[in-house]
């Protein structure tokens, strides 16, 4: 019969690094899920804190088992299965429970004290499971614990794969699968090997029974609760992934773990296309674009000259007024000169509790265009009837993507500029307009069960609309694919995409016929014929001053936008009614509402010969993201005006109002690296003294790295003076070991305290051999003697204090020749 010692050696195994690697990969998967499911970046802080906590646990529990000399932590004593848990094990279990609960606690703190919106219940539950798996992997000492960690990891990865269609999830799953196969094979061979030695037959029946018992009790409790409260079952909403809904294959429902039932029912059901027989909607007042613009920007200033003319032509007054009103209501013009708002009147719909204009499911921020204006005169923007782009918008066709009919709206002309495509969906709630709300770079559009192309049409400004309807039906969900522009090539001077202006080509008589037609269609979009005013010229000189001589057109556009973004954004700073030139007015006051900024940007860009136009629509802000529903609300006050530049066949949004973020652009990681390098170069050029200081500091720190680290560790050692003597001795010796490691003289695994410390104390710290011998004797007593033998007399405490102070304050002289410590040397 094997001895007890031999048996416990056989029963407990060293934890496998493979198990931890699998748990870390699963953690990565869950991190991606949390990243996709959380609008609040605090999840990252929480994740980092959790991983740091876990790493600490690994450091103090796991590394000593592999003979790490770095931490020098004593491995917890191994116990037989029927022995009670040691204090170290209780600590480990306590830390484990804390780690598992940490996601929930951190959300509670963030929500309660920092005003964060927090994460969804499912994500918190997943994070807790993830921490459980990590913890098990770190402290696993039996194969059953490793199996538990392995199963948790597998579940998490499978869950991540099932509930997300991210490409990087598959990239993680592939190595996970390989590693998991390897892990299983290793377990199999281990089980064969161990089968001949000792049977690892821990009494797990109790464990299983207890788990079943807990689950059963939980189920009984829930049933009891449900019998008393009819609402109890609904409390589980949001706790189960893909809860609710009758379409399990719906990708939106899978991603938006939340109120799936309502989301799907209100999203794609066909009855929402017809007139809704619901009091809720029939009785509500649905605003038009005109209402919203008037509410938010103030009323248009009437033109006096037209009114003056009306005096003599009495019959035409009403007609003109009526036409003007109709024109305004149909949004044929947009005045940049508006009356200040009289009060803070906000649109309040009746019959519904939602003020939202629409909902957006997809990436935010998003610039959703409703109208565009291409002609600017006397402070009024209008759209021309004949400016419909014949090249990019002709021949739309219906294609099938994922077995659904999609209309291809426009063709990205160059793969270089337009290579990345994303998807969003908008749901109209309270908006009375036949126009569809789309991003500028929409290429494909889909409404459920609409497979006829004549269902769509274009407004004369190129905006998509639903013909023969007063407005798009409420709750219509419009799925769209749109491009993320890749603008890097526009900034390269020698690139074929460097030139955006067309006035030179228009004058080129050798231009091809088609190009000539195309340029002709856009003649009114450019304003080269207008002479820039003195103030505009001054502004241009100012913002173009930092540009290189070979700057591209896009560089100039960005310079103008950058200059305007420095202005103060103020919606109440409207132009005066008698203002002749709103651009000059804005450049003078350097503050104004977004439509003045956009007007100024458009006018100045057009004066460069670059086609540009004004857009009104909605800005979908990330701050309105509802994490439970997985969608962002678009409110009436999100009405926004910006500009679009014509870039090689498509209209790219620009944002001249500093209050709003810049539109997203796509960059490869190489481009990002180059951009960062150029930004660093610019910083270094503009801040030479700071650069020198930073470089000098780094050089100094690198050259004196060992001394700095030693000084830091000495400082840390000072805190040990506050500890009781045994603890102080223990931590001082660990720090001494760490300091020696920094001197590139790590403690060999086989070296005993006497062999190593005697050498260090006499050679490095200059302590007399007698004192060193006494000190080592005390240290050995504290390390290896029974507890009742560890009491120290005052003389010994004094000696320890003296030696430890010498260790802390000594500079650790470098030994002349670091000698090899023989394993069987009988030192001292």
């Amino acid at each position: 019969m094997p001895s007890t010692d031999a048996m416990q050696t056989a029963v407990f195994r060293k934890p496998a690094l493979g198990t931890m690697l699998l748990a870390l990969l699963a953690t990565w998967c869950i991190s991606l899920l949390r990243f996709a499911g959380s609008s609040d970046p605090v999840w990252l802080v929480s994740e980092i804190c959790l991983l740091a906590g876990w790493c600490s646990l690994v450091g103090f529990v796991l590394l000593p088992r592999y003979g790490s000399e770095f931490f020098g932590v004593k491995a917890p004593a191994q116990k037989t299965l029927n022995a009670g848990p040691s204090r170290a094990q209780l600590w480990i279990w306590g830390i484990g429970c804390l780690l598992i609960l940490a996601p929930w606690i951190s959300r509670w703190i963030l929500v309660g004290f920092f005003g964060s919106s927090g994460e969804a219940n499912e994500l918190i539950a997943l994070a807790m499971l993830q921490m459980g798996g990590l913890w098990q992997a770190a402290v696993a000492r039996t194969s059953r614990q490793e199996w538990l960690s392995f199963l948790i990891s597998c579940f998490l990865v499978l869950f991540g794969l099932a509930s997300s269609d991210r490409g990087d999830m598959i990239q993680i799953a592939a190595p996970f699968t390989i590693l998991a196969s390897w892990w299983l094979m290793a377990r199999y061979w281990d089980s064969i090997e161990e089968g001949f030695l000792v049977s690892e037959s821990a009494p797990v029946l109790t464990l299983r029974l207890s788990i079943l018992g807990i689950l059963g009790l939980g189920a009984l409790g829930f049933l009891a609760w449900n019998s008393f409260s009819k609402d109890a079952a609904n409390r589980l909403d949001g706790w189960m992934p893909t809860s609710g809904g009758n379409r399990q294959g719906e990708s939106w429902a899978r991603q938006g773990v939340g109120d799936g039932d309502m989301l799907i029912a209100a999203k794609d059901e066909a009855f929402t296309f017809g007139p809704v027989d619901s009091d809720l909607f029939l009785e509500s007042e649905i605003p038009s674009m005109y209402d919203l613009v008037s509410d938010l920007y103030g009323e248009t200033v009437p033109k006096k000259r037209r009114y003056a003319r009306a005096i003599s032509l009495d019959n035409q007054i009403k007609e003109t007024e009526r036409e003007a009103t109709e024109s305004k209501k149909n949004s044929k013009e947009f005045s940049a000169v508006r009356q200040p708002k009289s009060n803070d009147k906000k649109y309040e719909p009746k019959g519904t509790d939602s003020r939202a204009i629409a909902y957006l499911i997809g990436e935010t921020p998003q610039w959703l265009r409703v109208e565009s204006f291409d002609h600017f005169e006397d402070g009024i923007w209008t759209h021309s009837e004949d400016l419909f782009d014949p090249k990019t918008n002709t021949n739309p066709s219906m294609i099938t993507i994922q077995e659904k009919p999609w209309m291809q709206v426009q063709f990205p002309p160059t793969e270089l500029v337009y290579s990345v495509r994303e998807r969003l969906a908008t749901k109209i709630i309270n908006f009375q307009s036949p126009r569809l709300i789309t991003p500028s770079l929409t290429t494909h559009l889909h409404i459920d069960r609409i497979d006829q192309i004549d269902f769509y049409s274009w407004m004369n400004d190129g905006q998509l609309m639903m013909p023969n309807r007063d407005y798009v039906p409420q709750l219509t969900v419009v799925h769209q694919l749109y491009q993320i522009p890749q603008l890097h090539a526009l900034r390269v001077p020698k690139s074929a995409y460097a030139q955006l202006s067309h006035h030179q080509k228009a004058e080129d008589t050798n231009a091809t016929h088609g190009l000539h037609d195309w340029i002709g269609a856009y003649t009114r979009l450019v304003g080269v014929h207008e002479e820039p005013s003195a103030r505009v010229q001054q502004f241009r000189d100012e913002v173009f001053g930092v540009l290189a001589s070979n700057a591209t057109d896009w560089n100039r556009v960005e310079a103008i936008v950058g200059g305007l973004r420095r202005f103060e954004s103020d919606r109440d700073a409207t132009a005066p009614e008698d203002c002749a030139d709103v651009v000059d007015y804005l450049l003078e006051t350097k503050r104004g509402p977004d439509y003045l900024m956009a007007s100024a940007a458009s006018v100045m860009i057009r004066q460069l010969g670059i086609p540009c136009r004004l857009c009104t629509g909605f800005f979908a802000s990330p701050s309105r993201f509802d994490r439970i529903a997985g969608q962002s609300a678009i409110m009436p006050e999100d009405l926004h005006t910006w500009a679009e530049v014509h870039v090689h066949g498509m209209w790219v949004p620009i944002e001249p109002t500093g209050q709003y973020p810049q539109p997203r652009e796509w960059m490869t990681w190489q481009q990002r690296a180059v951009e960062m390098a150029w930004a660093c170069r610019d910083y270094f050029r503009n801040h030479p003294y700071q650069t020198l200081a930073i470089g000098g500091s780094f050089g100094f720190a690198f050259y004196f790295r060992q001394r700095l680290a030693q000084a830091f560790l000495c400082g840390v050692s000072l805190f040990s003076l506050l500890l009781p003597t045994p603890l102080r001795l223990r931590y001082s010796l660990r720090l001494l070991r760490l300091r020696m490691w920094l001197w590139n003289e790590p403690l060999p695994t086989h070296a005993t305290l006497q062999q190593w410390l005697g050498k260090q104390l006499t050679e490095r710290v200059s302590i007399s051999p007698t004192a060193a011998r006494s000190f080592i004797g005390i240290a050995q007593r504290l390390a290896y003697a029974p507890v009742h033998e560890q009491r120290l007399d005052p003389g010994q405490e004094k000696l320890i204090g003296q030696v430890l102070r010498s260790i802390i304050f000594s500079g650790l002289k470098s030994a002349a020749v670091p000698g090899r410590i023989s394993p069987i040397e009988n030192a001292i």
Binding site: L753, L782, P823
Partner: protein, 320 residues
């Protein structure tokens, strides 16, 4: 018969007594064998651990002298057996002979009925004779004519063997090697010691003889005191790790047996007591590793000492 067969409970010596007794013994042995303090320490450790010692070294290095010195110093009965191929088991254990006067068989005890038995050149005895020592070494008793006979409680076998002459020799089987606690090599003395040796022998024709500094009860008391030396959990685990390493080491076809492990721990306890400690530290384990392991482990590739060194180098010492 001058054997130490006391059965009365012994008074517990104080730590001062223990160190005084050990000091005297150490002084005497160091006088007998000059310049070999470490060998003397290990021999003392083996004595305190109730372990038998096999001296494995060249002729003339002081093996017999040391054994005789030890027997003298502990004040016990010393017997010597010169092992040859014609040595019979009864020559070692004793035999019964018919007394012509009384017409009864009388038992004539053999050399094992002593306190210190020196088995010189043990590998020259036949396996049959070697195995006669098995029971005596392991259980401190012999069975003659079906009657078990107890030996002295402090019975100690000091055997010698010459590693260079293999003709007409019978290598000790593993079973017997495992009954020895350690194998000691004495080696050549250093120059100063040899000078002292020459100086000492110049004045006298007799060998230097040790004085008896202890008696049998005191040896037993020391051996009992060794069991009170503490071995903490971490040190025991270190010992287990080392033992496990010998079992998995590619140089050793056979790993350390549990009996060897127990003896290793006991010798380490004794070594700690020799160093005036009442607890074992990893240095003790390491210091006695080579003699304890080399007697029972044989490397099939590199030198045994080298293999033992690699075992120790590959196992982490428990840290503070």
């Amino acid at each position: 018969m001058n054997t130490m067969t006391t059965t009365e409970p012994l008074a517990t010596p104080t730590s001062g007594d223990i160190q005084a007794w050990i000091g005297g013994l150490r002084r005497e042995l160091n006088n007998v064998l000059l310049g070999k303090t470490q060998v003397v320490e290990l021999l003392l450790a083996s004595l305190l651990a109730r372990g038998h010692v096999l001296f494995d070294d060249l002729p003339g290095l002081g093996k017999t002298t040391l054994a005789k010195g030890l027997a003298k110093a502990v004040g016990g009965k010393f017997m010597r057996v010169q092992c040859t191929p014609d040595l019979l088991p009864s020559d070692v254990t004793g035999f019964s002979i018919l007394n012509q006067k009384t017409r009864e068989f009388e038992f004539r005890p053999g050399p094992v009925f002593s306190d210190v038995l020196l088995a010189d050149e043990i590998n020259r005895a036949t396996p049959r004779t070697q195995s006669a020592l098995f029971e005596a070494m392991a259980e401190r008793q012999v069975t003659i004519d079906g009657e078990p006979q107890s030996l002295s409680p402090s019975f100690l076998v000091l055997a010698t063997q010459n590693p260079v002459e293999s003709v007409g020799a019978y290598p000790l089987p593993e079973a017997q090697l495992d009954r020895f606690t350690m194998k000691l090599k004495i080696g050549y003395p250093d120059r100063a010691s040899e000078l002292e040796l020459l100086s000492r022998s110049r004045k006298t024709t007799n060998d230097f003889e040790a004085q008896a500094v202890l008696h049998g009860d005191q040896i037993v008391q020391l051996q009992q005191a060794v069991t009170g030396v503490a071995v903490e959990q971490s040190v025991r685990e270190y010992l287990l790790d080392l033992a496990e390493c010998t079992r998995n080491h590619r140089s050793f076809p056979l790993g350390l047996s549990p009996r060897g492990l127990l003896q290793w721990q006991r010798v380490a306890q004794a070594y700690a007591m020799l160093n005036e400690r009442n607890f074992v530290i990893p240095e003790d384990i390491q210091a006695v590793a080579a003699p304890v392991l080399s007697v029972r482990l044989t490397s099939n590739s590199i030198a045994t000492d080298q293999a033992i060194e690699s075992v120790i180098a590959s196992v982490s010492v428990p840290r503070l």
